[in-house]
């Protein structure tokens, strides 16, 4: 194997690879990335046995194809610390030489034959989605996934597709985020479900550079695979049944407030200043005159912030919410106009923006 590679491109690929290769495995080869020099490109392969990826760059000039497993952290450090625009990488038996203008490293590697197989994206995609759309959908949901719920399924993010309709859902039992889209390119008419670990989604987000890029997704029996241009990610999924999320989306909410996202965002942030450990909640008082947020922290003080409503339908209502949950949703809302729908102070509320994003949040009894 011999090649000259753009240092920036290699550093970026190795940086991403480092997110799965922890460097703590007792088996040395699992602390490695695998470099595969093909005819016209360099592929960096990394895996932690749960998530695997192939990161490909064409910013490499291959003089001699070949493959090698090299300790990920050392290689990354060398590449990061170097100042050369390009580096020459050459293998010699079980070692590689990395040369810059004034430097020469010889790093011992491992036989690539021992490196675990990382499935590549093969066969046809179940659906194709623009990176911009998938990125928005992930950002609008993954924050709401549970982190350590004993109902394991909700520690992941649900991908649910019925023909061209794709929904992505996450919940932690206190709130639920749901985002939908209609796929323009949907090959498969059937329906599919998959619960994806949030960490996998973060890796995918990390690899999205071009919003126009068409991402191919395939949901196999045990794995979900993403193809992003020349790179691909495969991951195991979360076992179990995602709770029937449609059942918890309340219907017939008779109070409806229309307001501007940024105004509410700023108001909730300010109201949250005067909360404390044992009283986290902020009171939302909706009337036709507008929305008043109030909070109180014993021995610290009280806050009251007025938020204008564009419109309010229904009877006035007082309800408490954890400001953090409301802020999460507002940050994820990609639209200026939002609506909040409510029924009673002990019942869930819905925050919506645009046709695609819906957020159910359970109230706090103040």
């Amino acid at each position: 194997m011999k090649l000259v590679c753009d240092r920036g491109a290699l550093a970026e690929a190795l940086g991403t690879a480092r997110m799965v290769v922890t460097g703590r495995s007792p088996k040395p080869v699992l602390n490695c990335v695998k470099l595969v020099a093909e005819k016209d490109r360099l592929v960096v392969t990394a895996t932690d046995l749960e998530i695997g990826m192939h990161l490909s760059t064409s910013k490499a000039d291959i003089t001699e194809p070949g493959t090698m497993a090299i300790p990920a952290d050392k290689l990354l450090q060398i590449v990061r610390e170097s100042t050369d625009p390009t580096l020459t990488i050459e293998s010699e038996q079980e070692a590689v030489h990395i040369r810059g203008q004034d430097s020469h490293f010889k790093v011992h590697g491992y036989s690539p034959a021992d490196y675990p197989a990382v499935p590549a994206f093969s066969g046809s995609a179940d659906f194709v989605i623009p990176a911009g759309t998938l990125g928005r959908m992930i950002e609008q949901t993954y924050f709401a996934a549970a982190r350590e719920n004993s109902r394991y399924a909700i520690n992941g993010v649900l991908f649910e597709r019925e023909g061209p309709k794709l929904a992505i859902v996450a919940t932690d039992g206190h709130r639920l985020a749901l985002t939908r889209t209609v796929l323009e390119v949907a090959q498969d008419p059937g329906s599919q479900k998959s619960i994806v670990p949030p960490k996998t989604l973060q890796l995918v987000l990390n690899l999205m550079k071009d919003p126009e890029l068409e991402i191919k997704v395939r949901i196999a029996e045990n794995q979900i695979l993403f193809q992003l241009g020349e790179s691909s990610v495969c991951s195991t999924m979360v076992e179990g049944n995602f709770p029937p999320y449609r059942d918890v989306i309340p219907k017939e909410l008779d109070r409806k407030a229309h307001l501007l996202r940024d105004a509410l965002l700023s108001a909730v942030k300010r109201a949250a200043l005067l909360t404390n450990e044992e009283s986290k909640g902020v009171r939302f008082s909706f009337t036709e005159e507008g929305l008043v947020l109030s909070s109180r922290a014993p021995e610290m003080g009280e806050a009251e912030i007025k938020v204008p409503l564009s419109r309010f339908e229904g009877e006035p209502i007082d309800i408490g919410f954890n400001p953090g949950y409301v802020l999460d949703a507002l940050k994820a809302a990609h639209d200026e106009h939002i609506t909040i729908e409510l029924r009673a102070s002990g019942k869930p509320g819905i925050l919506r923006t645009g046709p695609d994003f819906l957020y159910v949040v359970m109230p706090v009894s103040l």
Partner: protein, 376 residues
């Protein structure tokens, strides 16, 4: 199957359960240390994960899965198969928690169970996804083997409880323990129990022939002293050259037979144990010297115990052959029994953290006085 010698009963139980499709999701394999519980667990794992298993406990040896698991697994098997999760105290060295990584490995802390099996927040504040609730990477189930399961504290066992009760689809949990009484009743009641016993002498020699075909028969004989029906102990004795003990300590013991107290007996025993423990600690990162000492002492006691038992047997045989005066024989037998008592004392002294050298000296003196008394 040629590699598993003995253990007909547990193997029979497993085979018929697999054939009838009623293999439990949780197995508890118990029995003395080193008899082959872990090996059998690995064989079962290999067969379970095999994409095309020809028969119970068999594997095709060709598929993607089989290629990741050695055909003859031993204790040093690593977690390289994505769906075979081996949990043991040494796994702490690969934890994401730096405190666990550097701590002496005496137990399987709850954090390890969380990080590598059931997920959740560990004491360093980190959150872990639950490997047990991820889909199998190769699509043919997941296997979790917990070796020395009794080293889980009650928090760890409780953390595991729920998962054992409602195991995720296609998962198999095997708990391996040489002291099942240290497992919670609730754990034991959720697992199907498979009991393992020591191998018989003929099974042992069969095993030695198979695994140590090249070994010098005299050396093998010495090593069998330590084995007590446990191939694992045989291998360990072989690895650490414990047959040297047969020469050094054995020589002193033989002197005792002629009622001659060898001043060096205590010293030799302590030295042997200590050398073993040092070698052990050197080979095992973060191993505890105390634990290694105990392991070494255990081996030393089996050498001494073996010697006592054999001498006792010889005495009885001799008395049958040449009808000796009854009183003489009784005194001699009493002497050997007193030796066994001295050994028991040494065991409990070591368990209460008495200095090793003191224990071995006390044992040497105890053996001698027991035998000397029987002469009078």
């Amino acid at each position: 199957m040629a590699t598993v010698i003995g253990h007909k009963r547990p193997i029979g139980q497993l085979t018929s359960a697999i054939e009838q499709g009623r293999l439990s999701h949780a197995l508890l394999m118990t029995g003395p240390r080193g008899v082959g519980k872990f090996t059998l667990a690995c064989i079962l794992a290999r067969s379970t994960l095999c994409h095309d298993a020809p028969a119970p406990l068999k594997a095709c040896g060709q598929c993607d899965s089989c290629r990741l698991i050695p055909e003859l697994p031993d204790q040093t098997i690593e977690n390289t198969h994505p769906d075979l999760h081996i949990i043991r105290k040494e796994l702490a060295a690969t934890s994401s928690n730096s405190i666990l990584r550097t701590r002496k490995q005496l137990t399987i802390p709850v954090d390890l169970i969380r990080e590598f099996i059931v997920g959740g927040q560990t004491s360093d504040g980190r959150h872990h996804d639950a490997p047990a609730y991820r889909t199998a990477a190769l699509g043919h189930g997941k296997v979790f083997i917990i070796d020395e399961a009794e080293l889980m504290d009650s928090h760890g066992q409780n953390a595991l409880l729920k998962t054992l009760e409602e195991p995720p689809d296609g998962s198999l949990f095997m708990l391996i323990s040489s002291s099942e009484d240290r497992l919670l009743v609730t754990i034991r009641s959720r697992a199907q129990r498979l009991g393992f016993g020591p191998l018989t002498d003929s099974e042992m020699s069969c095993w030695v022939d198979l695994r140590f075909a090249q070994i010098d028969p005299a050396r093998a004989k010495g090593l069998l002293f330590f084995a007590e029906g446990s191939p694992g102990r045989f291998s360990m004795a072989e690895r650490y050259g414990l047959d040297a003990w047969v020469r050094t300590v054995g020589q002193s013991l033989r002197k005792l037979e002629s009622r001659e107290l060898d001043d060096e007996l205590g010293d030799r025993m302590a030295k042997g144990i200590n050398e073993f423990a040092e070698a052990w600690v050197k080979e095992h990162v973060n191993a505890s010297k105390d634990a290694a000492n105990r392991r070494g002492a255990e081996l030393m006691w089996s050498l001494v115990g073996n010697w006592i038992r054999r001498s006792l047997a010889k005495t009885v045989a001799r008395c049958k052959r040449a009808s000796l005066p009854k009183d003489d024989v009784e005194a001699e037998i009493t002497g050997w029994l007193a030796c066994l008592e001295a050994l028991g004392r040494a065991e409990s002294e070591l368990a209460s953290n008495v200095n090793l050298r003191m224990v071995t000296d006390h044992l040497a003196a105890g053996l001698w006085s027991a035998l000397a008394a029987s002469d009078n």
